[in-house]
Amino acid sequence: MNTESVHPITHVKHLKPQEHWGWIIAIYLYLAGMGAGSFVIGAILSWFVDPSSVVTIYGFPLNLAKGAILWGPILVAIGAPFLILDLGIKRRFLYACLNPRTSWVARGFLILSAFIVVGLVTLVISILPFQWLIEQITFRRVLEIISIILALATAIYTGILLKATKSIPLWNTHLLPLLFLVSALSTGSMAIILSTLGTGLISHDTGVLNVLISGEQILVGIEGIVLFLYLFRSYRTSEQGKDSVHLLLFGEKKLIFWGGIVLLGFIFPIILEGIASFFHGNVGLIFVAGLILLCGGFFLRLGVLSAGIREQIPMQRLIEIQYALRTMKTKEN
C-alpha cells in the first residue's frame, strides 16, 4: 500500500485560529467600544450645542434631549454582561478584579465598572431638570471630563485586552487598540446621529448634523487607513501574522472581512451617505447607512477575534529539520 505522506506542519496550509473567544466576546467588545465612543462624541457635542427638550413623565419633568446623546454608558452596561456570559462559572464574575497588578482582564473590569457608574451618574444628572444642579457648572464639567477620560480608556482597553494575550501575533500590536479606538469613535458618532436623527433634537439645526456626519466620515476614513496599516503590519511581522491576514482576506473568514468589514463597514455607508447628501440629508438613507455601519463595527471585532492564530512553538524548527531529513532518507531508499 503506497499512501502519500502528509507533512505534519508545512502541509497544513493555515494553522487553526483560536476558537475560545467567539461572537459573545465580539458583542462585548463592540458594545463597550461603541458605547464609550458615543459617550465621548456626545459629551463633547453637549458642550457646544446644549440641546434641551423637557418632557413630563408622570408629572416629573425630564430633560430627555441630553439623554439622547449621553446614553453611551447604558450600552456599555448592556455589553458587560456578555463578558460574564462567556465565563465558565458565571456567578464568580466578581473575582475578576482580584489581580489588577498584571492582568488586563482585571484592569478592564475596574475601568468598565468605573465608567458605567460615573457615566450613568453624568447621564442622570444631565437629565434631571433641577435648577440647583444646572447651576453647578464646574461640578458637571469635572464629572463630564472624568467620564470622557474613562470612556476613552474603555474604548482603548477593548484593544489592549486582546493585545495582552501575547502569543497571538495578529493581536499583539499597538495598532489594535488604535484601530478599536477609531472604530469606537466612528460607530459611536454614528450612534449619536441615529439617536438624534428622527427625534428633532438637534436635526432642526442642520449645521450640527452636517458637522457630525462629516466628522463621522473623516473617522471612517481614518479607520480605513488604520485597518490597512494594521493588516499590513501583521502580515509583515511573523509567519502566523501572515497566516492570520491570509485567513481573513482569502481564507475561511473572507466573508466576514469582505462582506462584513469592507462592504458593510466602509463601502455601503459611504455610498449611501453620498447619495443622501444629494437629497439634502434624506433621513431614511442616513438611517440605513448608519445601521449598516454599526453592523460593520461588529464584524470588525468578530473578524479580528476569529482570525487570531497562535505563534509557533519554539521546537517547531527542530521538528521541521528532522522531518526534512527523514523524507530525504526515505526518498533515497
Binding site: 475560545h20 465565563l87 473575582y95 475578576a96 482580584l98 501575547k166 512553538i313 529539520i321 531529513l325 527523514r326
Partner: protein
C-alpha cells in the same frame, strides 16, 4: 530545596495514550482522555508522537493574564504553576495566551485545568511503559538536556553535510 521538572523524550513515545488515561483518572476520577492534562499529538504517517505537557514556565503568561490569581506559582512544590479550582472563573484568557496551548477548558467542571505534577507524583511518569516521560531534578536535567540537544543538532548537521 530541590526542584523537579517533567521532561519528555518524544523519540521514545509510542503514542499509546496511557498517560492521558491515568491523568484523567487521577484528576477527574473518570477515564476520559479528553479531560486529561497531558495530550499526545500524533502524526501516524510519519511516526511522530509528541506528548504535550505544561512547561511551568519561569515567566508564565498564564499567571500574568489571570484576572483572579487562580493561576499562580507555588515555589514550595517544585515551583509549579497551578490553577486554583475554587478561584477560576473560566475566562479562558490563559488558554489563549499560552504559546504551548497547554491549559484546557474542562467542560464538566466549567473551569480551566492544567498540569499540577499530580502533587509531586506524576501519574504519567509512573505509568509510561516506554519511559518517555521523566520527573527529575531540574539541575540534573540541565546538563542532560543540553547534551541531548547538542547531540541531536550535531547529528543533523552531519547528515545535512553528507547530502
Amino acid at each position: 530545596m530541590e526542584e523537579k521538572v517533567l521532561v519528555i523524550d518524544h523519540q521514545k513515545c509510542t503514542g499509546c495514550r496511557q498517560c492521558e488515561l491515568v491523568c484523567s483518572v487521577f484528576h477527574t476520577g473518570s477515564s476520559n482522555p479528553s479531560r486529561s492534562r497531558i495530550r499526545v499529538v500524533k502524526w501516524e504517517h510519519e511516526g511522530i508522537y509528541l506528548p504535550m505537557i505544561c512547561n511551568h514556565c519561569e515567566e508564565a503568561y498564564c499567571v500574568e493574564v489571570c484576572p483572579t490569581k487562580a493561576c499562580h506559582r507555588e515555589p514550595e512544590l517544585n515551583n509549579r504553576v497551578v490553577i486554583d479550582k475554587n478561584l477560576c472563573i473560566g475566562c479562558k484568557t490563559c488558554i489563549i495566551s499560552c504559546p504551548f496551548g497547554h491549559p484546557s477548558f474542562d467542560t464538566q467542571e466549567r473551569v480551566t485545568v492544567k498540569c499540577d505534577y499530580c502533587d509531586g507524583d506524576p501519574q504519567c511518569v509512573a505509568f509510561c511503559y516506554a519511559k518517555a516521560v521523566f520527573f527529575m531534578d531540574a539541575d540534573k536535567i540541565q546538563m542532560a538536556k543540553k547534551r541531548e540537544a547538542a547531540n541531536k543538532f550535531a547529528d543533523l548537521l552531519k547528515q545535512a553535510r553528507l547530502k
